[in-house]
């Protein structure tokens, strides 16, 4: 993906969003939807670029803003089928996400971004990439999946370990066949089995612990999910000899301005909107076990 050298949807005024429209909605499950957005200004829409792992601020006037990772599949560039939409997978959690839910197709909102540090596609070139996701954390990795699969020459092995509470909480299941066909190895697990679930039951850490083959010298781990899940997953990987310098996690806090001015998303000395959300593990390790940071 091209670097976001020209963030066309970022104005000089940090609080000024660009008008956008909901082109379609994919209902992932009860409380999670993917909104396929397009900027109202065609010039901005065609010039907009992001890097996998970055996020946008979605703005519902009168209600507020929420930070959502851009999960657009593919390179985020125009394709033969026309320009891609800008996809945002959102879990209903508060007022803004509820307002988004009420907007519906054709609904008008504001978008500004992209913001933040992306997944380390460049610095990990040549590595076997192990993606570990929990719940809606896969949304932050979806763009990275497409990017990795589009560049298999640079990534000799791409694997995904993905856990959710229940089988109907697994995101993007309709795409797994295509991902597998493109060369990704996928292993899923659920915390609680249900009728019809044939797969593994247990936490994602267990998949990581028994993953074969395992080459800690050549593997890079990218992890996104609830903080507690990331802590345990990373601990399991380190226990199997993976160096800390080859582990990346995507952090979440209350991001509001997205440019390091408002102070809400601090995590220790980090402003997650600016120096994150993707961090190399060793940079934030000492803060991950501190309660209430």
């Amino acid at each position: 993906m091209t670097p976001s050298a020209n963030p066309v949807a970022v104005a000089a005024n940090p609080w000024l969003a660009r008008p956008a429209t909901i082109e379609s909605i994919t209902r992932e499950f009860t409380d999670v939807s993917t909104y396929h957005l397009r900027f109202a200004d065609p010039e901005i829409d065609s010039a907009y670029r992001f890097r996998a792992g970055q996020f946008n601020m979605l703005y519902v006037p009168g209600v507020g803003e929420v930070a959502i990772g851009v999960s657009t599949g593919g390179p985020g560039r125009p394709t033969e089928d026309g320009p891609p939409t800008w996809d945002h997978t959102v879990r209903l959690a508060g007022q803004v996400t509820a307002a988004l839910d009420r907007l519906g197709i054709g609904g008008s909102l504001g978008v500004r971004g992209p913001y933040g540090e992306p997944w380390p596609l460049d610095s990990c070139a040549g590595d076997e990439i192990l993606l570990v996701a929990g719940g809606t954390g896969l949304a932050s990795l979806r763009a990275a999946v497409y990017e990795l699969l589009a560049h298999r020459d640079r990534f000799p092995r791409v694997r995904l370990l993905y856990g959710a509470r229940t089988a109907d909480g697994l995101l993007y299941t309709s795409e797994y066949d295509a991902w597998t066909a493109a060369g990704m190895e996928i292993d899923t697990t659920v915390d609680r089995g249900s009728p019809g679930w044939q797969g593994h039951v247990g936490v994602v850490t267990q998949l990581l612990t028994r993953l074969r083959p395992w080459d800690p010298e050549r593997t890079s781990l990218w992890c996104c999910g609830p903080e507690v899940m990331m802590r345990f997953a990373v601990r399991a990987a380190l226990a199997r000899g993976l160096p800390k310098e080859r582990v990346w996690v995507s952090m979440e806090r209350n991001m509001q301005c997205a440019v390091g001015l408002c102070g809400h998303c601090q995590f220790g000395p980090e402003m997650i909107c600016k120096s994150g959300p993707v961090y190399r593990f060793d940079r934030i390790e000492r803060y991950l076990n501190v309660e209430g940071l």
């Binding site: 104005a11 000089a12 005024n13 940090p14 609080w15 000024l16 969003a17 660009r18 008008p19 429209t21 109202a40 703005y59 006037p61 009168g62 209600v63 507020g64 803003e65 879990r91 959690a93 508060g94 008008s108 909102l109 504001g110 979440e252 806090r253 209350n254 509001q256 301005c257 440019v259 390091g260 001015l261 408002c262 102070g263 809400h264 601090q266 220790g268 000395p269 980090e270 402003m271 600016k274 000492r286 803060y287 501190v290 309660e291 209430g292 940071l293």
Partner: protein, 387 residues
């Protein structure tokens, strides 16, 4: 008189120390000072300076020399501020009240964008800030330092705040050196004072009959043109130097900043956080009076039919419970974690984020804490028994 440029400098580089030794400073008599205030008005400035407000010395518009708190001083200590009559008529014979210049460069409430509902969707608009240029009269050395700190926050290389930038670039900074110190002052520990040496357009030192005047910028020099200002006499310079020395000599509070970043970030589970949480009311006073605290939220203010929305930026505080709201819960649900957030951000995280401490040693957070929590004492307690 030497001239220096004082444009906002995101790096906050130190300028050479000023000098009002004989021949280097000007002098303006108090009896001529009204002509200086009138000049500022004539140049289009809105002059803001110290004046009595609700039993304290705060900042507000100054038009007449009589608006200044002549003959008043304050007694400050942890959790206490009292206005007291001086036994002389000094105009700037005090240190600092609860206000800081941040109120004007980064206002407590400010509309930063608008949304208007049209048939084809929301129109999202910028806003113009129409505030006339400010002349800040009576800026202390620690406050100049605080402005340089906020410059790094709001005018950094990644993003700049257009309202802050405009106001900051237009503002004329007329510093007045401290000639006394409060019990809560510790600028010498933070390397920010008490002498004004950087970032001012003009720096005054009050003497009995007038002010010595140092020029810090071409803009400062041009403001003075035509005013009844003469070269300061050696005796006047000596009187000013001795008054400034008095301020320095009176400073008794200390904050040991040695390795303070590691000290605090390495002691995030120190029992002192529990101790201070027993006293802290999480009232946000310290963050409201702090001249560098910048955290803010943007509220959506709709008209009645929801067709027009003002996005109103307001000062927020890490002591507000909702500040750390995320996904239906609070990250920092107790006072312990909120106080720790404030102190570690101010004295440690700030260094990572802006390459400077967030504290300038003004002591306001100590004075205005309703229970008298003194951050220098909290740091000392952690330093005494580190993990």
């Amino acid at each position: 008189m030497a001239e220096r440029e004082t444009k906002p400098d995101p790096k906050g580089k130190s300028l050479p120390a000023s000098d009002d030794g004989p021949g280097a400073a000007g002098w303006i008599a108090k009896s001529d000072f009204q002509s200086f205030l009138d000049r500022l008005v004539a140049l289009g400035y809105r002059t803001i300076g110290p004046t009595l407000i609700q039993g304290a010395i705060g900042y507000d518009e100054i038009r007449q020399v009589d608006d200044l708190p002549k003959g008043w001083t304050e007694h400050q200590s942890a959790g206490s501020y009292r206005l007291v009559r001086r036994d002389d008529d000094a105009w700037f014979g005090f240190n600092l009240g609860p206000h800081s210049w941040k109120r004007y460069l980064f206002p407590p409430q400010q509309t930063v964008a608008k949304a208007i509902k049209r048939d084809d969707g929301w129109q999202l608009d910028d806003v113009e800030d129409a505030e006339p240029p400010f002349a800040f009269l009576g800026v202390r050395a620690c406050e100049l330092a605080a402005i340089l700190v906020q410059d790094r926050v709001f005018l950094n290389e990644h993003h700049s705040d257009p309202i802050y930038r405009r106001r900051r670039e237009n503002a004329l900074l007329i510093a007045v050196n401290c000639t006394q110190a409060a019990e809560t002052c510790f600028c010498t520990s933070m390397g920010t004072g008490p002498r004004c040496v950087v970032a001012f357009d003009l720096a005054l030192t009050e003497t009995e009959l007038g002010f010595t005047v140092e020029i810090g910028s071409p803009r400062g020099a041009s403001v003075l043109a035509g005013l009844p200002i003469r070269e300061a006499a050696p005796a006047e310079c000596a009187e000013a130097a001795s008054a400034r020395q008095q301020a320095e000599d009176q400073i008794s509070k200390r904050l040991d900043t040695t390795d303070i970043r590691e000290l605090l970030l390495g002691n995030l589970d120190h029992p002192q956080w529990d101790d201070v949480a027993e006293r802290c009311l999480s009232c946000t006073n310290c963050t409201m009076v702090c001249p560098t605290c910048f955290c803010h939220s943007v509220e959506e203010v709709s008209d009645l039919d929801g067709g027009q929305v003002d996005r109103v930026r307001q000062w927020d505080s890490c002591f507000n419970a909702r500040f750390s709201y995320m996904n239906g819960g609070l990250v920092r649900g107790d006072v312990r974690s909120r106080y720790r957030q404030w102190l570690t951000h101010k004295l440690a995280g700030w260094i990572d984020q802006f390459d400077t401490s967030g504290c300038v040693g003004c002591g306001r957070c100590i004075t205005w804490c309703p229970v008298g929590i003194d951050l220098t004492a909290e740091v000392a307690a952690i330093r005494e028994v580190p993990k």
